[in-house]
């Protein structure tokens, strides 16, 4: 009897799902490409994480390669590459944290400034100029940066010349060879490249705020700064929190392209990050196991970070990703 009821319940549930799909089938069709994209590019490659537990031989493939347990992890944290790994791990955290602290507010400030620009023409031109670097490739951007900081026998870049003239660096010194210049260089380049484009989401959030709120504040005698303080920022808060959570989730995923193009052996101490470590050890040196182990390790920590940030946010501000 109970079994029959159970079957009926299941049939009813299936019918409801089918009806829901049939009702909104157009939306599901629209969703399909993204689902397929995720399946192919995000879920299928996860199988490659098995490499972290194997002595990977490309000719045998992931499944047939010899199983090694956690040997790759032990080698990574305590073997011949341990110093490089921990250095990369530390740098990843530091660069991410600096980027968060210095890079995160800039697009918000930009969005606020854009929203206060009354002249539409000037606003559009300014926005376009700030968005532009985002559409240039990392190679072009770093090429420009390297040109600016170049210091050779026959010529020197504008920034290097400025620093030398100001006495901040020795005439023969090269900024790109100095470990202490890498992080500012990386973060400033990132801010220049991405803050304009990143401001779009905040600008959209500001545009979505009801004008009635600003009018009410004006009636109460509020000035421009009070508008920002009491209306704009509180209304943007959910967007800001979601963006912070997402940013924390990406803390250990510093893109390797810019670092790879800017760094060299002499500045590994501040520049080598997990993604470049994985590229160098995993791909160039052919130690796929350690490369994958590092990647998995990285992902697990990022996962923990995003859960933590989400929980904290939910408890404090009642805003969360899930």
């Amino acid at each position: 009897m109970a079994e029959t009821q159970d079957v009926r319940m299941r049939q009813k549930k299936a019918r409801l799902i089918f009806q829901a799909i049939a009702k909104d089938w157009r939306l599901y069709v629209l969703l399909m490409p993204m689902v397929i994209w995720f399946a192919i590019w995000m879920y299928k490659p996860m199988g490659g994480l098995l490499i972290a537990f194997k002595r990977f031989d490309p000719s045998l493939g992931v499944l047939l390669s010899e199983f090694k347990g956690i040997d790759n992890f032990i080698n990574m944290i305590n073997g011949v590459v341990k110093e490089e790994f921990w250095q990369a791990f530390r740098n990843t955290f530091i660069i991410s944290s600096y980027s968060l602290v210095f890079g995160f507010p800039v697009p918000i400030i930009l969005a606020l400034l854009f929203s206060e620009l009354n002249h539409e023409g000037i606003r559009k031109i300014t926005q376009t100029i700030t968005y532009l670097p985002h559409f240039l490739s990392e190679v072009t951007i770093t090429g420009i940066v390297l040109m600016l900081v170049y210091n050779g026998v026959h010529s020197a870049g504008v920034i290097t010349t400025l620093f030398i003239n100001q006495g901040w660096i020795e005439p023969n010194a090269s900024i790109i060879q100095q470990a202490n210049y890498f992080r500012p260089l990386y973060i400033i380049t990132g801010i220049w490249k991405e803050s304009g484009y990143n401001s779009i989401v905040y600008y959209a959030a500001i545009m979505g705020i009801s004008p009635a709120l600003y009018e009410a504040l004006k009636v109460d005698g509020g000035n421009k700064f009070q508008e920002i303080r009491y209306v704009t920022i509180p209304c943007m808060a959910p967007t800001l929190i979601i963006m912070v959570i997402m940013r924390i989730g990406r803390m250990l995923s510093i893109g390797y392209e810019r670092v790879l193009l800017l760094y060299n052996t002499n500045i590994y101490v501040t520049a080598d990050v997990l993604s470049t470590f994985e590229q160098r050890i995993g791909i160039i040196s052919g130690n796929y196991g350690i490369g994958s182990a590092s990647s998995l390790f990285n992902s697990l920590i990022a996962f923990a970070l995003v859960i933590g940030a989400n929980t904290i946010s939910r408890n404090i501000s009642k805003t969360s990703l899930w």
């Binding site: 000719s59 080698n75 050779g152 026998v153 196991g289």
Partner: protein, 690 residues
């Protein structure tokens, strides 16, 4: 009964022990040399057309077997080649072996990336795989059964010409034999027995500096750091290099134990004038040359490394005088590109013969010791001392600093030799590079080849150059998974063709129809070589700015780094008059070079003159050990060059590791797994050389 049993057991035990010892003795007995087996040649039936796919990767789409030039090429017979077609040599070969060739390579793929990618399909995507610096991989995958064992094919009577070549050149055979005894790849064998890079200089600077009377030398102050090498107990005099023989019948004798570096260092005022005058006066006191410049120039040159440094100093300190006021700075030594900077390390030879590279490859960081075992060179005390000496040179401004910046893609040779007539010229004096391109008239007509410095090499004072042309780690192999027996057989015909007389001509010179049939080109070695008709140089001029080598590679499809023996005859014809004279100078001199057989003036190490194989054949276990316990990347070179750049000047940038002493230097290598690294390669070399 029990006594009997015990006696039997003891007897059996003693017998077993005796047998074991006997077997052991037999094992260590020297193997009998085996004569090459005669095998009946198997003639391949070429009547049926067979499709063959090629995947040859050279990181450069112009270098593949497909014609990738934007403008069509009109050949001497009037036929036209356009983009996307096979290059003419390969179209001709296709007909010759009755096959249908398909180039399946990603045209600008790196060979190493290609091998990694294709290994995932067990190399089933093509019949023939090839590329640069992949010999280790081809041998490793070959031993795993993924490439055809060419020894087996040769035993079956296939590839008779390759077999003949290997039988005649057992050292080549040993160098390409994998750990399991199989031969899986045919290498690019580049002009074995010929000198590779040489010292090339601006000739008139030496004469202007040393032979001029009442010259207006510069007086800008100069600071010295280098203390000299042939000083104190190592002074060059008497048995320690007092007399040397640059060419047969000529002896140059240094008359005193003076050291020019010490003399220059002791000068109360150091500038272009004083440094040069000290050098000129030293040469006059110590040698009997008609002109002081002869110490460095010509067939009787007999300078040592300290005298070379003294000349470098004089050049550095006389920038305005040497360039007629066009420059305030000149660079005595430079490498062509920053990624060739390791050529500087080859100077080690002239510091009592320390060997840095065992072959014509920066990766070959080994030499063979007196016991026949290979030793790693980059981590030794001698290397550290050498880097410290170079650091002194760098502090004196003798080394071009831009060559240390590996991010720089500039061609320093073009900058420092090829801008004399530019508005803002830059000047360099010497580099260690290939003769043909360095002495090209289009670059600078003043560039000449000089003899190497004299040095105590392997305990014997001599003229010696360690950089010779060798078997390369480039080559090709036949895939097992991608090929039917018919395709393997046809691929073997292709491989063998380049070891025939006809194939040798094709790959070395291009279309034989474009060679003169009767005449021959007499090289500086006195030998007669195939000579081009007017068409080839004219076409090279029209299509490749006169660069014959590039024209043959990128337009014709010849001289590719596939398995074939390359010869020097082409290069002689491509060399300028100055270059030709340089070749003649070296050929007529007593300069010794290493070889696979290891012949030369025997000294303290009987294996000193032996070249290291182009690639090591590692077993899977050895590869595992390397993966798990070592981390030897190119960062090592950067750390070494940090010593050169920063040790003496003490101007290291923040974060850069500069080994203050040898203990710190060695610790760095040990942290990368040095002991394990050396053991693995020693074991590999041992198994390859047995």
């Amino acid at each position: 009964m029990s006594m009997k049993k015990t006696a039997v057991v003891i007897t059996l035990l003693l017998f077993a022990i005796a047998m074991a010892f006997a077997a052991g003795e037999k094992e260590i007995a020297a193997p009998e040399p085996q004569a090459a087996k005669t095998v009946a040649v198997k003639v391949v039936d070429l009547s049926k057309n067979v499709p063959l796919k090629f995947n040859l990767a050279y990181s450069n789409k112009s270098r593949t077997m497909t014609y990738n030039q934007s403008s069509p090429l009109t050949l001497s017979d009037g036929s036209v080649v356009t983009a996307g077609m096979l290059k003419p040599l390969w179209t001709s070969l296709e007909k010759k072996v009755n096959a249908k060739f398909a180039d399946v390579a990603i045209q600008d793929a790196k060979a190493n990336d290609m091998i990694k990618t294709e290994s995932t399909s067990n190399f089933a995507g093509a019949n023939i795989y090839g590329g640069n610096s992949i010999a280790t991989e081809l041998m490793a995958y070959g031993a795993e059964g993924k490439f055809v064992n060419l020894s087996t094919l040769m035993e079956q009577g296939l590839m008779p010409n390759l077999k003949k070549y290997l039988d005649a050149n057992p050292n080549v055979k040993t160098s390409i034999t994998a750990y399991d005894g199989g031969i899986y790849q045919v290498p690019y064998i580049a002009e074995i027995g010929e000198i590779a890079r040489t010292f090339c200089i601006r000739e008139t600077w030496v004469t202007k500096l040393l032979d001029a009377t009442a010259a207006a030398y510069d007086t800008k102050p100069f600071t010295t750091f280098y203390k000299g090498f042939l000083v104190g107990a190592n002074a060059r005099t008497g048995a320690n290099g007092g007399s040397v023989t640059p060419r047969q019948g000529v002896t140059i004798t240094k008359k005193t134990a003076e050291n020019i570096v010490e003399l220059q260092n002791a000068l109360p005022v150091k500038n272009g004038k004083t440094l040069t005058e000290a050098l000129v006066s030293y040469i006059k006191r110590n040698y009997s040359y008609a002109k002081p410049s002869q110490l460095f120039l010509g067939a009787d040159a007999a300078y040592d490394v300290d005298e070379l440094v003294a000349l470098f100093r004089a050049i550095k300190a006389n920038a305005a005088y040497l360039t007629d006021g066009k420059a305030t700075e000149v660079w005595p030594y430079f490498s062509r590109q920053s990624n060739y900077r390791e050529d500087l390390l080859r100077m080690a030879t002239y510091f009592d013969g320390y060997r840095v590279h065992g072959s014509d490859s920066y990766e070959s960081r080994w030499y063979i010791d007196a016991a026949g075992q290979i030793q790693y060179t980059y981590s030794t005390q001698e290397m550290y001392n050498l880097l410290s000496i170079f650091s002194d040179w760098n502090a004196e401004g003798l080394l071009y600093t831009d060559m240390f910046d590996v991010a720089s893609k500039a061609n320093h040779r073009t900058t420092l030799w090829g801008t004399d007539n530019a508005t803002n010229p830059k000047y360099g004096f010497m580099t260690y590079d290939w003769i043909a391109s360095s002495t090209a008239d289009a670059l600078n007509k003043d560039i000449s080849v000089i003899l190497p410095p004299v040095a105590k090499v392997n305990g014997v004072w001599q003229y010696y150059m360690d950089n010779t042309r060798v078997i390369k780690s480039d080559g090709w192999a036949i895939s097992v998974a991608g090929s039917t027996p018919e395709q393997i057989e046809r691929a073997s015909v292709v491989f063998d063709f380049f070891f025939t007389e006809e194939g040798r001509l094709w790959q070395n010179y291009g279309n034989p129809a474009d060679l003169k049939s009767t005449d021959g080109y007499i090289g500086p070695d006195g030998k007669k070589w195939p000579e081009y008709t007017e068409w080839t140089p004219a076409a090279a001029s029209k299509y490749a700015k006169g660069d014959l080598s590039t024209f043959l590679r990128d337009w014709i499809g010849a001289q590719m780094p596939i398995g074939y023996p390359k010869e020097i005859g082409f290069e002689y014809q491509y060399t300028s008059k100055k270059g030709f004279e340089g070749w003649a100078l070296l050929k007529a001199s007593t300069t010794n070079i290493p070889s696979y057989a290891g012949t030369g003036l025997k000294g303290t190490n009987p294996n000193y003159y032996k070249l290291i194989p182009p690639a090591f054949s590692l077993t899977p276990r050895q590869s595992e050990i390397l993966n798990d316990t070592t981390s030897f990347t190119d960062d090592i070179v950067e750390i070494m060059f940090n010593v050169i750049r920063y040790k003496t000047l003490g101007n290291a940038p923040s974060g850069a590791f500069v080994a203050k002493d040898y203990a710190a230097y060695l610790d760095y290598f040990k942290s990368k797994g040095l002991d394990s690294y050396v053991k693995v390669f020693q074991a590999s070399y041992e198994s390859m050389s047995q």
